[in-house]
């Protein structure tokens, strides 16, 4: 293959030639894009997964100088150029040219197994004045099925150059690259305006495909019967649901089981980085900013990366097998009752990693009200950022029964999903009236998943997550640090007294002295927190959260977690006065045993359960709100989301607290 990423070329930069990559969903378009450009992009198997245009660059020749680079644009799969769906609009805009640069040509990717049907799309390019190259993909699979085509005749019949390729195997790519390169010098003419068979593109496609067919058509075979049985099982109301639950159970088990090791490694790496910085930078505001703000903020975000990468890797594998489209129909039966479309399934599933990629994945839901409803309820799904809070609080609720803690943990996920469905139903009856659009979906053939594509998808999504969320969370972490660090408070007399006692003990009992120093540090930290802007704010909002059994420290924890939920545990750790260098178990134990000003426990079972319910339901993520604002192009929807979800969380938390207290669980 002669393709080279532009980044490797150091010659004089010149304006690129733009070539569009188009085709039906599942035609192997994105796999071909990855082959041509060496860049990462995902395969569009299902509406809701390829939500952005991917752009890559290809240099067809290394020896000719200076070579004009070729820009390849991977567009979402579509069935018809004129279809009034988001992907159709996107493709029409791309054909018209954007940034003052019309495309030099189009590479239309056709699935060799479904050539007659997909050729119909080629008819739509007649008379548009754009040169088109037909890339007949999956030639290897076609040969295995006994299908063969006369590609030279296909070129004559269509008036478009044809190259047979297999994107997965890398077959025919050199010829395709040469053909793409010839677009620059105008060697490919746009197809003529009128097809031979008149105006019906379907009849034209049928005629052309039939004339070029060189082997037996594979239809009505035993394979179809096998596929029928698989389809019947996977979409069956009971069997399909059981398969779905098993697949999803395995998916989440894999995510939690496999992600724990890299998550621990990431945490340990950041902890070491913090210790290293603390060694080199003298005590003061700069050290606190770098260790508490920068390292603390980064670790809080990056720690969830393994779960996100694994989720998207597994979703991509599932998508590639063809199963996900069948699962969408299983979910459609449930989602429809609550006013959600079946294609909300993938966005809602993605929201279990993070609501942001889930919300971005709603872009290809065609109906406005369907999409808005999905966006508004997606944050109810329990995202990775809630995990540390769930783990902490369910552990506190059932410290001696891991099984009960596990049930409570699963209950949080169930509560979130149930709240999402109920909220969708309420929205469709009030602000976004109407029924969701019924599911119509092409079911792709079953096939073995492509690991390379899945890895590329995981990398792509992870990078997008880091770019979108990392920057926002980092900025907010700095802000939270500033709130808790300023105004600076003088060391309290009790802490000074402990320090003095530690110095006196130093010679005789160094261990006792160290213990006193840690206590003094914890005391000073707590005093600093109480006197800081965050402490004052906590006392200010304490009356709002007091009915849920929360004191000022928990109130600050809730308040700071509006920036990012994972900040809650770190905030509490600071507020209860965890000294530097304490082991992790010590941190959790201290939070669990922390007391209020009057000496009563900070966390009772009732207040812990209320806090847990609050965290399941509340809208505590500024980054998600920002993305909702951007996607809906309005302030109204994120504000509604913030007020309604947080209000619901407060009421549910209050009811939980009161109920458990009445049952003697206080």
């Amino acid at each position: 293959m002669t393709a080279e990423p532009l980044e490797n070329d150091r010659r004089r930069p010149v304006a690129p030639t733009r070539v569009l990559l188009l085709g039906y969903p599942n035609s192997g378009k994105t796999t071909l894009f990855n082959r041509l450009c060496g860049l990462r992009a995902k395969t569009a198997n299902f509406p809701g997964t390829t939500t952005t245009i991917r752009v890559g660059r290809l240099l067809p020749g290394r020896d000719a100088a200076p070579v004009e680079p070729i820009e390849i644009v991977d567009l979402p799969g579509l069935y018809d150029l004129e279809l009034a769906l988001p992907e159709g609009q996107l493709v029409r805009q791309a054909l018209a040219g954007w940034g003052g640069m019309p495309p030099a040509g189009v590479v239309l990717v056709l699935d060799a197994l479904h050539l007659a049907r997909q050729l119909r799309l080629a008819a739509g390019f007649r008379g548009r004045g754009v040169p088109v190259i037909l890339a007949v993909n999956m030639m290897d699979l076609a040969r295995r099925k006994g299908l063969s085509y006369d590609l030279e005749r296909l070129a004559r019949e269509t008036g478009m150059p044809v190259v047979g390729v297999s994107a997965r195997q890398g077959e025919g790519l050199i010829r395709l690259v040469e053909k793409i390169a010839s677009l620059r010098c105008g060697a490919v003419s746009p197809p003529a305006a009128e097809p031979e068979t008149g105006g019906d593109p379907e009849a034209w496609a049928d005629t052309v495909a039939l004339r070029c067919l060189g082997g037996p058509a594979a239809s009505g075979t035993a394979t179809d019967s096998f596929h029928d049985r698989l389809d019947s099982a996977f979409t069956h109301p009971i069997v399909g649901l059981l398969v779905f639950l098993a697949v999803m159970g395995f998916l989440f088990w894999t995510i939690f089981a496999l992600a724990s090791v890299p998550m621990d490694l990431i945490e340990a790496t950041f902890a070491h980085a913090g210790s290293w910085l603390a060694l080199w930078i003298p005590p003061g505001a700069v050290r606190e900013l770098l260790v508490g703000g920068l390292i603390g903020g980064l670790s809080g975000t990056v720690v969830f990366l393994p779960q996100i990468a694994l989720l998207f890797f597994l979703i991509s594998l599932l998508e590639d097998t063809g199963y996900l489209a069948r699962a969408a129909f299983v979910m459609d039966r449930l989602l429809y009752r609550f006013g959600l479309p079946g294609n909300a399934f993938v966005p809602l599933l993605s929201s279990h990693a993070c609501a942001i990629p889930g919300i971005l994945a709603t872009r290809l839901i065609p109906d406005r009200n369907d999409r808005l409803t999905t966006i508004l309820v997606a944050p109810f799904m329990s995202c990775s950022a809630r995990l540390p809070v769930y783990v902490l609080l369910t552990g506190f609720l059932f410290p001696h029964s891991p099984a009960r803690a596990g049930v409570a943990f699963a209950g949080c996920y169930f509560l979130g999903a149930a709240a999402a469905l109920a909220a969708a139903k309420a929205l469709r009856r009030t602000l976004l009236p109407g029924k969701s659009r019924p599911m119509i979906l092409e079911l792709p053939s079953y096939k073995w998943p492509d690991l390379r594509v899945a890895v590329a998808v995981a990398i792509d999504e992870s990078w997008g997550f880091l770019k979108t969320v990392g920057t926002t969370i980092l900025a907010l972490s700095f802000f939270v640090w500033w709130l808790s660090a300023f105004p600076r408070a003088a060391e309290p007399p009790a802490a000074r007294e402990l320090q003095a006692r530690a110095e006196r003990l130093e010679a005789g009992d160094p261990e006792g002295a160290e213990k006193l120093r840690l206590e003094a540090h914890a005391l000073a930290l707590r005093y600093q927190q109480e006197q800081s802007f965050a402490g004052r704010l906590g006392r200010l909002v304490e009356p709002i959260f007091a009915p849920l059994g929360m004191d000022w420290k928990l109130s600050i924890g809730v308040l700071t977690s509006f920036a990012a939920r994972e900040v809650f545990v770190a905030t509490l750790a600071v507020l209860v006065g965890v000294p530097e260098g304490s082991p992790a178990e010590g941190v959790l134990e201290r939070i669990h045993r922390a007391t209020r000003s009057d000496g009563s426990p900070m966390l009772t079972p009732a207040s812990t359960a209320a806090l847990l319910v609050f965290f399941v339901l509340a809208m505590q993520c500024v980054s998600t709100l920002a993305v909702v604002g951007r996607e809906t192009r309005s302030l109204r929807w994120p504000l509604l989301q913030l007020v309604a979800m947080t209000g619901l969380a407060w009421v549910a938390g209050l009811l939980t607290f009161r109920l458990l207290r009445a049952l003697g669980w206080a």
């Binding site: 009034a84 058509a217 019967s225 019947s232 979409t235 109301p237 129909f329 429809y336 599911m439 119509i440």
Partner: protein
Amino acid sequence: MSEPETSSRSASQLEALTALAEGELARLERRAVENVEAELLSALGLRVGSELRVCRAGDPWIVEVRSARIGLARRVAEGLEVRRLATLPRS
């Protein structure tokens, strides 16, 4: 809802797609669905006059048209009227 789209043939023997059993072949004769759904069905190859095979009967209905499998929610399948052609035995 859009105007029902019909073929020029007589509608006397028309049946809803939902009345067909698995393996039956039929020709699509009439579509009484919303415009958005009608456009998508056309793009997928389910046009008036198209021949189809029922791969699965029951929500969702799965039909094969021009070697493509298309899943249809009950609400769409109920709006499609067809004329039976034959039944293919399962292998």
